[in-house]
Symmetry: C2
Subunit: 372 residues, 2 copies
C-alpha cells in the first residue's frame, strides 16, 4: 500500500479550511494543460513515448522549487485500491488512475504531489499541472500554478502556437489551457429548489458544474464543482476574474437561500441539521452517499451557526477519509468487504465524539438546568 | 389545571420499572367491574342516579385503607386538557374522560387515584376498580385489587347473581368481572414479522390485544396490551393463571425473535437501535408517534444489552410525558400549539442528555483511543 502521509500535507492541505469562505467553498483548484512539443498526444503515442515524457517531467520537476521533494506514483504499477485512493484524493483523474479494478492504467501514467501542488503525467494531455487551495482563492491557486508552470516551462518545451496558445489534446483546453474550479457546498439552493435556475444561469455565462468526482460524476451531498467551460480567447486573468465574479454571485444566492430558510422554516431547518448530526453520531452502518448527505446537513448547521460542536477541518477530513477506497485502505480490508459501512460509521462516530469532547472542554461545564 | 403530583406516585408508580421483567413488560393491570345493586346501569340512569352513586363510592373509599387519601377528579368539571392527561395516564378510559374537546363527559363521571390504585366511577359500569403494577406481576396486581374490592364490597352493595356472578353492563364482563392485561413491548416479533402469527394464536386461547390507548386504539411503538377476552365461567385464579402462562409464552417468543435478529442481522439491528437513539438525542421536532417508534428502538437496544446509557425509568417516563396532553399541560400551551413537536424534542433531548451524563459519571473517563 502506498503511504500518502509521505506527501507533505498529503495533497489535501485544503482540509484545514484556512482559506477565505472555507465553510461554503471547500477548495479552489487551478490547473493548466500542457504537452511536450515533438511528442504525439497521449491518444496517439506509444508506451515508450510516454515513459520518455515521464522521465523528462520527473527530471524537470526535481529541479523546481515546488516539486523538488515530490513523491511520484506510477499508476500502472499500483494496486487498484491505491489508484482509487489517489482518485478519491483528487490527485489523479478517473482517466489517469482507472480506479475500477477491471481497468488498467496506461503505461507511464503517473502523479507527482507535494504540498498544494500536483502534476498528472500522461493523462489526456502530457501534463496537467494543478494547485489546490483551501476555500475560495482563485488568485492564490493561480499564482501557485503559474509559478510552477513557469519553472517547468523553462525546462520542458511545451507545444505552443502563436495564434491558438497552448496546444492540447482536446480543443476545449486550447488557449490558456487553464481551468479553474471551486468545490462549493450549496444546500440552501438545493433545499429551496433554486439550484436548477442557478445552474442554468451558469451555463449561460460560460461556466459548468460537475459532481464530487469531477467530469461525468453525480452531485452528492450538495457539493458542486463549478468551473470555466472554455480556455480559448481570453487571458488567464480574464478567465479567473470572470469565474471569481460568478462564484461570488452564487455564494450570494446561497446566502440568500439560507436566509429564506431561516426566516420561513427555522424549525424544519434546525431539525434537519440536528437529525443529520444525530445519525452521524450514532449510526452503526453508513454508506458513503449517506455520509455525504448527512455531512452536508451538519456543514449547513455549522455554516448558519446552529452547530458549534464540530470543526470544519474534521468535516472536511470525513469527506475524504470516509470514501470507500480511503476507508478500505486504512482498515486493510478489500473494497468489497461487507463490513465497510460499519467501519465507516465507527470512524465517523469517533471523529464526532472527539470533536464534541474537544468543544465541550473548551466551553467548560454546562450551567443550564430545567425540565418540561 | 389539575395537579397530578398530588396523587401519591401520580398513578404511574409502574414507571420505576421495579417489577419483574420490566424491560419487556411495562405494567400489569387488573381491574374488576362492579355495579351497585338497586341502581340502573350507566346507560339507563340519570344524572341524579350517577351523583348518588359517586357520593356512595367516595364515602366508601374514604373508609378503606388504600383509597383513604385518594384524590378524585370529576370529569364533567375538568378542562379538556386535564381529561386528556388522565386518559393518557391510563387513569380514565376514553369513555369516561372524553378526551376530545368536542365531547362532554357524563355528569358524575369521576376517577379516584392513590398509589397503584384507581377507581373509575360511572364508566360503563358504576365502578371499575383497578391496580397497576410495574412489570409482569398478575399476582401482585390481583391481590391489590382483591383487597380493595373486598374493602369496598363491605361498604357497598354490589349487584351479584348466584349463578352468573357479578352483573355488569356488558355481558363480556359478567362473572368475575375481572380483566387482567399486560402492556408488553414486542419489537422482535414485529421485526421478524412473527407478530401476526402470535396475535392470531392469542385469539385462539381466549386472549385479545389492544393498542397503546386501549380498546379500539392503534398499536404504536410495538407496545401491545394483552388481556383476557371473557370473564365468565372461570375463577379469578384460573383466569390469571391462564393469562400468566400465555404471556410467559409470548415473552419467550419475543426472546427467540431477538435472538434470531442478533444471530442473523446483528449489524442491522445495532444500526437500527443506535439510529433511534441518535435521532432522539438530536432531533428538534418530534411527533408523539415518532417518539414512540424511536423509544421502541432504544428500549430494544437496552433490552438486548446494546445500549446502557439510558435507564428504564427514563424510557418509561418519556412514554408518558411525551404524550400530547402531558406535554401541552406541562408547557402551559394549547393542544393545537404548533410548537409542540419542538417542545417534545427538547424534553426528550434533555432527558437523554441527563441520562448520558449520569451513566458517564458512573462509568468514569473513557480510556479508549485510536482512529481509522
Amino acid at each position: 500500500m502506498i503511504d500518502l502521509s509521505l506527501i507533505r500535507d498529503g495533497g489535501i492541505g485544503w482540509l484545514d479550511a484556512s482559506g477565505p469562505e472555507s465553510t461554503m467553498v471547500l477548495s479552489t483548484r487551478v490547473r493548466v494543460a500542457r504537452n511536450l512539443a515533438d511528442h504525439p498526444f497521449t491518444g496517439r503515442n506509444t508506451s515508450d513515448d510516454r515513459l520518455r515524457i515521464l522521465g523528462s517531467v520527473l527530471q524537470a520537476a526535481s529541479e523546481t522549487s515546488t516539486l523538488n521533494e515530490a513523491l511520484h506514483f506510477r499508476m500502472d504499477r499500483l494496486d487498484p485500491i491505491d489508484r482509487l485512493v489517489l482518485f478519491e484524493r483528487h490527485l489523479a483523474s478517473r482517466e489517469l488512475s482507472c480506479p475500477e479494478p477491471e481497468r488498467t492504467p496506461r503505461v507511464g501514467a503517473a502523479v507527482l504531489a507535494q504540498d498544494h501542488y500536483g502534476v498528472m503525467v500522461n493523462e489526456e494531455d502530457h501534463l496537467r499541472v494543478q494547485a489546490v487551495f483551501s476555500g475560495f482563492d482563485p488568485a492564490g491557486a493561480h499564482a501557485a500554478v503559474a509559478a510552477l508552470d513557469s519553472e517547468l516551462g523553462q525546462r520542458l518545451a511545451f507545444a505552443f502556437h502563436p495564434e491558438f496558445g497552448y496546444l492540447t489534446a482536446c480543443p476545449t483546453n486550447v488557449g490558456t489551457g487553464l481551468r479553474a474550479s471551486v468545490l462549493i457546498h450549496l444546500p440552501g439552493l438545493v433545499l429551496t429548489k433554486e439550484i436548477t435556475r442557478v445552474l442554468q444561469g451558469l451555463n449561460q455565462v460560460g461556466l459548468t458544474y460537475r459532481g464530487w468526482y469531477g467530469e461525468g460524476s453525480e452531485v452528492i451531498g450538495n457539493f458542486f464543482q463549478l468551473s470555466n467551460q472554455t480556455t480559448l480567447g481570453q487571458t488567464e486573468a480574464e478567465l479567473l476574474d470572470h469565474l471569481g465574479k460568478i462564484v461570488r454571485k452564487v455564494m450570494g444566492y446561497e446566502e440568500e437561500a439560507r436566509a429564506v430558510l431561516r426566516r420561513d422554516a427555522p424549525h424544519v431547518l434546525e431539525d434537519k441539521v440536528w437529525r443529520a448530526y444525530g445519525l452521524l453520531r450514532y449510526a452503526r452502518a453508513l454508506s458513503f452517499e449517506e455520509v455525504m448527505n448527512l455531512l452536508s446537513g451538519v456543514r449547513l448547521g455549522v455554516g448558519i451557526g446552529l452547530i458549534s460542536d464540530v470543526g470544519m477541518y474534521s468535516l472536511n477530513r470525513l469527506l475524504v477519509f470516509a470514501q470507500p477506497g480511503h476507508l478500505a485502505a486504512a482498515s486493510g480490508v478489500a473494497m468489497e468487504d461487507p463490513g465497510l459501512p460499519s467501519r465507516r460509521a465507527a470512524f465517523v462516530r469517533r471523529t464526532l465524539e472527539r470533536e464534541a469532547d474537544r468543544t465541550e472542554r473548551a466551553r467548560g461545564p454546562d450551567p443550564e438546568g430545567g425540565d418540561v
